[in-house]
């Protein structure tokens, strides 16, 4: 029986974000929070492969109690066990402190029940950093492949997987030995529509809550704000893209194009390209 772990984060829904122009900080009130879209697809691909091979899925999420809703959404997609890591001490964590907490939790789970594949999202749409995955992979010393957009095959006997990923430069097909860590793009799997039994079970299934002290003894100065080397010095709303010049229809065609190209100094850009 293979063991997959999916790490998910609950994030504010950035499509209707409101920023307080004076203080430059996020207006949290009234902004709904959702399961990070990339993490939903990471869970979906884990669920898909669970059906193809004999596997069990554990979902972990560090955050406030309200993260339960996102864990329940993962139950709908086939997660068997849900662990919420929640305590005051964890608040305000940057990616380093987050990856530390997840690393300690994953070590504990791995010790109890060996993990074969850890699935994460490409990035969280609030922080947009995409650092937690590779950081956890580096701490575990496991092969870590990011920007995965297809799992081609999983060989149960040999503990091998073949995955595809795209970067700016290339599309590559890679064979990886378990245990491994993958961060997923949206194309990796479609979000399934749960059956009614799955939905009903997901609503009532128990979610374990791990605090600061137990069952993992975290080092205080490595978690939350204390464990975060990066601090927000100042935040501000970006000045909205000012409306540029609109060249009227009457202007002569060639002149319009030249003016536009000069405005965006195309020559320099193409220069870089040529």
């Amino acid at each position: 029986m293979r063991h997959f772990v999916v790490a998910v984060k609950q994030v504010p829904d950035t499509t209707n974000i409101r920023i307080d122009p004076e203080t430059g900080s996020l207006i949290r009130k009234g902004v709904p929070s959702i399961l990070n879209p990339y993490d939903a697809h990471a869970m979906a691909v884990a669920g898909a492969w669970k059906q193809k091979m004999d596997a069990k899925i554990t979902v972990i999420s560090m955050g406030p109690a309200s993260n339960e809703a996102s864990i329940r959404e993962c139950f709908e997609m086939g997660a068997d066990r849900g662990i919420l890591i929640s305590a005051r001490e964890f608040a305000g964590a940057d990616t380093l402190a987050t990856s530390y907490v997840l690393w300690e939790v994953l070590k504990k789970i791995h010790a109890e029940e060996a993990i074969d594949v850890i699935f994460m999202g490409k990035q969280a749409i609030d922080g947009d950093t995409g650092q937690v995955g590779p950081q956890v992979g580096a701490r575990l010393g496991w092969p870590t492949l990011t920007f995965v957009n297809e799992i081609v095959s999983m060989d149960d006997e040999q503990g091998l997987a073949v995955i595809r990923r795209t970067t700016e430069q290339y599309r590559e097909t890679v064979e990886v030995k378990m245990p491994m860590l993958l961060t997923c793009q949206k194309e990796v799997a479609a979000i399934p529509y749960a059956s009614l039994p799955m939905l009903m079970d997901a609503m009532t299934k128990e979610i374990e809550v791990w605090g600061f002290g137990d069952p993992v003894a975290f080092e205080r100065e490595k978690v939350g704000l204390k464990g975060s080397p990066t601090k927000v010095f100042r935040s501000f709303t970006p000045e909205l893209k000012q409306m540029g010049e609109v060249l009227p229809v009457e202007m002569e065609l060639a002149e319009k194009v030249t003016t536009a190209f000069n405005k965006v100094n195309l020559e320099k850009l193409l220069g870089v390209k040529a």
Binding site: P32, Y193, A194, S195, L196, P197, L199, M200
Partner: protein, 440 residues
């Protein structure tokens, strides 16, 4: 998948105002209730003017206020704004009954209120099944409804009684054989609304309100519906204002005008300028109001099924009352379901008790009283433009003096009417209006 059967005592379709009410009352009486809602969170799909009337909710939750419902403002000032092209006559009542606390009417936002109202039902023991759409009914071989089919795999839910609270798109009411067809265009209105965010200070200055316990709800008519038959509304929220216009659908279709253009034209009226300057558009939306009234109502019950709220056309368009009707009907349907479970009988005859209960309360009586109102409004489209214009003109004349002989002024006032409507016609209008409103 597992051969699990989902069995409940009652299934409620829709977690809107009527649905949550029905589910809550059934659960309060100890029944096992499943409430199926297509939205992720109840309220996400719902949109209205508007204001609720707590009397219907207190009948279900005596500690309604203690549970801290998300209310925007009490309605302490209510009235009518009659628009003509350049001016407006504001007839607004305040104090007296409107000053009593707790208020008889509260402005709310549906996305917040419905979520809270459904949560009270879950609190009472209802099983809320979100993100799920009921597609059809499951019937026994005698054709009696014994459950519903949802859009999920293995998605059948069984119960001897289903209460339909699906709102104005009455697809399931038709599938249950209670309604013959979609609501006819002449039996409903399309309402379009903008929700505008305004700093509390600016909002209160504009409407003359003092603090959060002071709120305004007015009906708008005249130029607001650009000459088409319809009524508009203004509701003051905590730091937002809802301004909308409802036009009877057949008139709208015939006019070829688009709803948002009508609303945009209305909002460009000079009276709104100081408010809109300070406001930012939060959201805009539209929703159908069933106005078929008594005549538009479907059959309300059959073997194993009842229908409540908008799906049963339970709206009093004259007074903008729909939520109190839906909540009350929901309660009465749940009480009927409880009695059926006690008797162990779920036939049409048993469920007839629902309609009996409705006939004894305001829902039925008001529907009957206003049964001709919409047809009347449709036949007298000028009513909405002639009289507001006439009134505005008369008041213009009355309140401006240019040293002319008053007797001449009064002649002008009379002409202001006769130019638009013969005296006889006007008297006829008043009488027929009274008849339509009094349900004679």
């Amino acid at each position: 998948m597992s051969e699990r059967r989902f069995e409940f005592d009652v299934i409620v379709v829709g977690a809107g105002i009527g649905g949550s009410a029905a589910a809550m009352v059934a659960a309060q009486k100890g029944l096992k209730v499943a409430m199926v809602e297509r939205a992720r969170v109840p309220g996400e799909k719902n949109y209205f003017g508007g204001a609720i009337y707590p009397h219907a909710f207190i009948d279900i939750l005596p500690d309604f206020y203690e549970r801290k419902p998300p209310l925007e403002r009490p309605v302490t000032r209510a009235g009518v704004w009659m628009f003509d092209e350049t001016g407006v006559t504001k007839i607004v009542k305040e104090g007296g009954a409107l000053g009593e606390t707790p208020a008889a009417e509260w402005v709310v936002l549906r996305s917040k209120f419905d979520a809270w109202w459904a949560a009270q039902a879950v609190d009472a023991g209802v099983t809320l099944i979100p993100k799920t759409v009921v597609l059809d009914f499951v019937r026994d071989d005698a054709g009696k409804i014994i459950g519903v089919q949802t859009d999920r795999e293995d998605g059948v839910i069984y119960a001897p009684i289903t209460i339909i609270a699906e709102g104005v798109n009455n697809l399931l009411t038709q599938k249950a054989g209670l309604a013959k067809a979609d609501i006819k265009p002449e039996q409903c209105a399309l309402a379009v609304k903008q929700l505008i965010q305004v700093e509390r200070g600016d909002l209160e200055a504009f409407f003359g309100l003092h603090g959060l316990n002071d709120g305004l709800a007015v009906m708008t008519m005249g130029d607001s519906s650009q000459g088409l038959p319809g009524l508009g509304f203004i509701y003051s929220g905590a730091s937002n204002v809802s301004i909308g216009v409802g036009i009877t659908l057949n008139a709208l279709v015939e006019s070829g005008m688009s709803p948002q253009d009508i609303l945009k034209a209305h909002l460009s009226h000079s009276v709104y300028a100081p408010l809109l300057e300070k406001g930012t558009l939060l959201e805009y939306g539209a929703h159908i109001i069933p106005e078929g009234g008594y005549r538009g109502m479907p059959t309300l019950f059959d073997d194993g099924v009842m229908v409540v709220g908008d799906a049963a056309s339970m709206v009093n368009a004259m007074h903008f009352e729909g939520t109190n009707m839906a909540a009350t009907a929901g309660r009465l349907a749940a009480e009927t379901a409880f009695e059926a479970h006690q008797a162990g009988v779920y036939t049409k005859q048993q469920l007839a008790g629902y309609e009996k209960k409705l006939k004894k309360c305001f829902v039925y009586q008001d529907m009957k009283q206003y049964r001709n109102f919409i047809k009347w409004l449709d036949k007298h489209p000028h009513f909405m433009s002639v009289y507001p214009d006439f009134l505005n003109e008369v008041l213009d004349l009355f309140f401006t003096s240019h040293g002319k002989r008053k007797s001449k002024e009064y002649k002008k006032m009379l002409k202001a009417l006769t130019r638009r409507r013969s005296l006889l016609g006007a008297v006829g209008d008043i009488l027929s209006f009274a008849k339509a409103v009094l349900g004679l």
